[in-house]
């Protein structure tokens, strides 16, 4: 099996899961850097090139809110789950658990 194919399939598998993880983690306010660190500590590595555009996309979809604030003498953009994002997260989690349970039976 060619490694680039495995990498492609791995990315496809991760894509949806990353959205779920980011939404869930932003139940608590984070700025990009701390969010990435926090996800990495929980075992989910995500590079900046993926995370920041994803945050913007989720914000433009109304699932996140953001604001610029100063911290450690630097301006940082803080993200948090919006009320709409909370509802979406709930539905996605339900879907995720259903899928997970089905997959557990299949594999």
């Amino acid at each position: 099996m060619p490694s680039d194919l495995i990498e492609k399939l791995r990315l496809e598998l991760r894509r949806g899961s990353l959205i779920l993880a980011v939404l869930a983690e932003l139940d608590v306010e984070h700025y990009g850097y701390t969010l990435r660190k926090s996800l990495a500590e929980l075992g989910l590595e995500i590079d900046e090139g993926t995370l920041y555009p994803l945050l913007r996309r989720l914000e433009s979809q109304g699932l996140l809110t953001s604001e610029w604030r100063e911290e450690d003498k630097r301006q940082k953009r803080f993200y948090r789950l919006s009320p709409e994002g909370g509802k979406v997260l709930e539905q996605l989690l339900h879907e995720w658990r259903t899928l997970n349970a089905a997959l557990d039976k299949i594999v």
Binding site: Y31, G32, Y33, R36, E48, G49, T50, Y52, P53, R56, W68, R74, Q75, K76, R77
Partner: protein, 320 residues
């Protein structure tokens, strides 16, 4: 150190959309500085230039990073791409088949065959390239404008049942698209020759110009109309590449019409004459007779092929 980061962010900004430029650069700049700070804490010292360069490389080329913030764009999306790809192939194949047939004619008849063949290849390449560009443009517009294609929208498996002359009557058998493309190319060449786009007078190969006599006139419009109508019918076959009873009957009618014309042409005497003043050497006058014979042999072959097609279609209709 800050110089390198500023330079990186400046390059990034040049690739970003104006509205988001400052915002994205500021956020990414903070992320870079956070990473630098963390790395420096790990090392217990300031980063040297090479280490900073490695860190920035880890973030990616500014063009690549900026690309991730842009909306995903494509010229022709997955919705119409299969049809586009098929149309593109068909156009290129038709151009190639026409070039191949004209090339064969050039090789056989032109006094300077290689030169003529090379010129033809060059023309065929340009025709194919331009046709491909037009097809791409048309499909890009279809995709960009979100134009709904009836081909996809109206699809209903139940409609494969019957209907006089319906395109969607029950399929009898598939039609190989290569056959259809070959037929389209043949009709296109016949059409081009018939209307004079291909110069018949210079095709004797012995330096004597010949032309059709007035005896051809009664056939002019029937052949022209049949060419156009048959090309339209073949175009349908290209899109809906399966035989149906109504379409097989339609092809039978066309084949019979062609056969009638071929037989009438075959029975007509004196179809070809020398162009006045083009044969100073009387010994070459036989070229007219030779071309008449070639024309008759061609008609005979065409007639035989058409008769075979009629027979095959009759068998299909009887066996359906």
């Amino acid at each position: 150190m800050a110089g390198l980061i500023d330079q990186y962010l400046l390059q990034l900004k040049t690739y970003l959309p104006a509205k988001q430029r400052e915002d994205i650069a500021a956020e990414l700049g903070d992320s870079i500085l956070s990473s630098v700070g963390e790395r420096e804490r790990e090392l217990g010292r300031k980063l040297v230039d090479d280490e900073l360069v490695a860190l920035l490389k880890g973030f990616g080329h500014p063009l690549h990073v900026a690309g991730r913030y842009l909306p995903k764009q494509y010229l022709i999306g997955p919705g119409v791409f299969p049809l586009y790809w098929y149309a593109l192939q068909a156009v290129v194949i038709v151009a190639a088949v026409i070039a191949a047939i004209l090339g064969a004619i050039a090789l056989l008849t032109d006094p300077r065959p290689m030169q003529s063949f090379a010129g033809l290849l060059w023309d065929a390449w340009w025709v194919a390239l331009n046709a491909a560009a037009v097809v791409t443009l048309v499909f890009a517009v279809i995709d960009y404008q979100g134009i709904r294609l009836r081909l996809f929208e109206d699809y209903d498996p139940r409609k494969h049942e019957g209907g006089i002359l319906s395109l969607r009557a029950a399929p009898l058998s598939p039609i190989p698209r290569s056959d259809t493309i070959f037929e389209i190319a043949t009709v296109a060449i016949l059409f081009a020759w018939w209307v004079g786009w291909i110069d018949f007078v210079n095709m004797t190969g012995v330096g004597v110009a010949v032309q059709f006599t007035e005896a051809i006139e009664p056939f002019y419009w029937p052949v022209l109309v049949l060419c156009v109508a048959d090309a339209a019918r073949l175009g349908v076959d290209l899109v809906y590449a399966y035989r149906t009873l109504p379409r097989t009957i339609l092809r039978l009618i066309f084949s019979i019409a062609w056969l009638v014309l071929i037989v009438l042409l075959f029975r007509t005497d004196g179809l070809i004459e020398a162009v006045p003043g083009s044969f100073p050497d009387p010994s070459r006058f036989d070229a007219v007779t030779m071309m008449e014979r070639v024309f008759r042999v061609t008609l005979f072959v065409l007639g035989a092929v058409t008769a075979a097609t009629i027979g095959a279609d009759l068998v299909r209709i009887v066996r359906r």
